[in-house]
């Protein structure tokens, strides 16, 4: 917790950061246009339909953003195989005992605001903590729901094979009514997620002071020297490839 002897660690690589901000933009645009499509504002005018196309434009933006959202997601999945350990798909699910222990720690200390009996610096994750990682998995699932229901609804209007791949979703769920309801309700999950996500980022930044907020811009987080010492990494140059740092494999944060 002290502000001394921090080392800068490159946690979020450029593709991860680009993904994050495109995702932010897409979700915002999709939610806003989505709500407009669901409940368009009342306009009283004597206008003729030939004079404007704004509602059509809102829909075009929604569909365009959906494509970007989708391809962005695909690229992120790709990166979860080739990116660094903090971006790796394995870092999102609690495979190791350490990660499961970390879940307990986060729930206890950060959510229930209790205190650890013994201070272990390794409890503070370098990348995602295990609970946050699970929340991203959950969000990914909801994103898939949106992709399937969204393209399912869209497939009928499109002649392209990609949305057509999802055409089976509508009959499976019994028709457009149900698909639309799911698509609409799932939007709220993104809103709830965003509230909690942004709050917790500020929370960690404020309490740990390791650059949680700025890390998604510059990619760097700060890790105390004590941590490096504990993991036997004190004398290693910072750019050590993971393979030569066996102990790091058991890092709860990865």
């Amino acid at each position: 917790m002290s502000s001394k002897n921090y080392k800068r660690v490159y946690v979020w690589e450029l593709p991860v950061r680009i993904f994050h901000w495109i995702n932010v933009l897409c979700i915002t645009v999709l939610a806003v246009t989505g709500f407009i499509i669901a409940d368009p504002p009342a306009i009283l005018s004597g206008a003729e339909a030939s004079e404007s196309y704004w509602f059509g434009t809102v829909r075009v933006i929604h569909f365009g953003a959906a494509y970007i959202f989708f391809f962005n997601m695909i690229l992120r999945i790709y990166w979860s195989f080739v990116g660094n350990r903090f971006a790796h798909w394995k870092s999102f699910l609690p495979f190791s005992r350490e990660m499961r222990k970390n879940i307990k720690h986060v729930l206890k200390v950060d959510i229930m605001l209790q205190h650890d009996k013994t201070h272990d610096v390794r409890n503070i994750s370098v990348g995602h903590n295990s609970v946050a990682a699970l929340s991203y998995v959950a969000l990914f699932v909801v994103a898939l729901v949106q992709v399937f229901t969204g393209f399912g609804l869209y497939s009928d209007m499109s002649g392209w094979w990609l949305p057509d791949l999802f055409a089976w979703v509508v009959p499976l769920l019994g028709g457009d009514f149900m698909v639309r309801t799911i698509h609409h309700v799932a939007t709220w999950v993104f809103i709830f997620f965003t509230l909690v996500h942004v709050y917790l980022v500020f929370y960690h930044d404020w309490l740990e002071g390791r650059g949680e907020v700025s890390s998604m811009f510059g990619g760097y987080k700060f890790v105390s020297e004590e941590r490096f010492r504990k993991e036997g990494l004190a004398d290693m140059p910072q750019k050590t490839p993971p393979a030569e740092a066996p102990k790091a494999e058991t890092n709860p944060a990865t």
Partner: protein
């Protein structure tokens, strides 16, 4: 009587015998081919099959229904439709329209089922109640379920007329007291054409029958068994008010200026964007109009569970299980508010609970800052 009709006559022969001219017949072929979505080159094929095909025997069963499908059918635009279908396609058995009744009617049905085993078309109007041993719908002392299974046994194909037979319609609405069940949930081993709608459009019904005669096979069906020619597009995609929708011009109530201008009915509950049907192109009552043209939003009658999917006069945002008044958005807003409050409380609690760590780190930081001043 229905079962004494000469089955050796072709459709063409019987049409001519009815007093139509060859020209009327060709006009009819053209007209029905257009409704079926065929190319002009296929008109000859339609005419040819009607000239050479002998009638297909049809058994038309009525279960839990209101007979609106039959009503729609006999009002189909072209007189030949009524003539060939009612007279010549020959409903060997249909409660509503046949001359025979009682034991005679049942005898006619059984005669057809035996004589044309594996050849007849079974048309089903209505759903089948499965609750209480099927006692909610009995005909001639037997349950609908029994009758359906018996009639389906020797059928070549089944046409499920209307939303009742396709998805249960109103009697299957929550809580579905009679357990009204669509045909395809009961009969699994026969080809089934679903023709949903409450009722389906008469021309659509005729088009499907003529398709069966002309090509001797089922029309191309979509994933849920509806003929693609009539159910591939949403009402919304062929609606003449669509330009208003794209322009964002909506009627807010049924009596405002916007409604008078003929703006889109989306905000007064039009279900056109969720409903697959041909109302926008074929229209109703000889192409006179359809609900949206008459100023009323589409209620989505050809979609599964349309009765349970929100009020007819509101944009659908209802969420089953949360009461009628609550919509997904109301729940969402309340939940977001509660969540935001919870986060604020957490933030305050965090600052209190972690005050020691915070004080330490702030002090160190202050000291560091002072070093610059000295």
């Amino acid at each position: 009587m229905a079962f004494e009709r000469n089955t050796q006559e072709t459709y063409y022969e019987s049409i001519i015998r009815q007093g139509y001219s060859r020209r009327d017949f060709m006009k009819f072929s053209t007209y029905i081919a257009a409704y079926m979505g065929l190319e002009t080159s296929a008109i000859g094929q339609v005419a040819k099959s009607l000239e050479t095909t002998h009638r297909i025997p049809v058994i038309w069963e009525h279960y839990q229904e209101c007979t609106c499908c039959s009503e729609s059918f006999i009002r189909s635009d072209h007189p030949i439709v009524a003539d060939i279908i009612l007279d010549k396609i020959s409903l060997d058995y249909t409660l509503t329209l046949m001359a025979a009744s009682g034991h005679q009617a049942e005898a006619a049905k059984h005669a057809t089922m035996e004589k044309y085993k594996g050849e007849y078309i079974l048309c089903v109007e209505g759903s089948v109640p499965m609750g209480d041993d099927g006692n909610y719908c009995c005909i001639a002392g037997r349950s609908a379920k029994d009758l359906l299974i018996e009639a389906a046994e020797g059928a070549k194909a089944i046409i499920a007329w209307g939303s009742c037979a396709c998805n249960g319609c109103v009697q299957a609405a929550y809580p579905n007291p009679t357990q009204a069940t669509p045909i395809d949930k009961i009969i699994k081993n026969k080809p089934i054409i679903k023709v949903p709608g409450c009722p389906p459009i008469g021309e659509v019904m005729a088009g499907i029958i003529v398709h069966l005669i002309t090509f001797d096979r089922l029309p191309e069906l979509d994933n849920i068994g509806r003929p693609k020619a009539f159910y591939a597009k949403r009402v919304h995609d062929s609606c003449y008010r669509r330009p208003y929708y794209d322009a964002g011009l909506f009627a807010e109530t049924f009596d405002d200026q916007n409604a008078k201008e003929g703006y889109c009915l989306y905000k007064v509950g039009c279900k056109g964007p969720m409903t697959y049907n041909s109302c926008g192109t074929i229209r109703w009552n000889n192409g006179v109009s359809f609900p949206i043209q008459s100023g009323h939003g589409c209620i989505g009658c050809s979609e599964e569970d349309f009765w349970d999917n929100g009020p007819f006069y509101e944009r659908m945002t209802g969420l089953a299980g949360f009461g009628i008044e609550s919509s997904a958005d109301t729940i969402g807003k309340v939940a977001a508010g509660v969540l935001a409050g919870g986060l604020a409380a957490h933030a305050i609690a965090a600052n209190i609970s972690k005050r020691k760590e915070l004080r330490d780190s702030i002090r160190t930081a202050r000291e560091n800052e002072k070093k610059f001043e000295s």
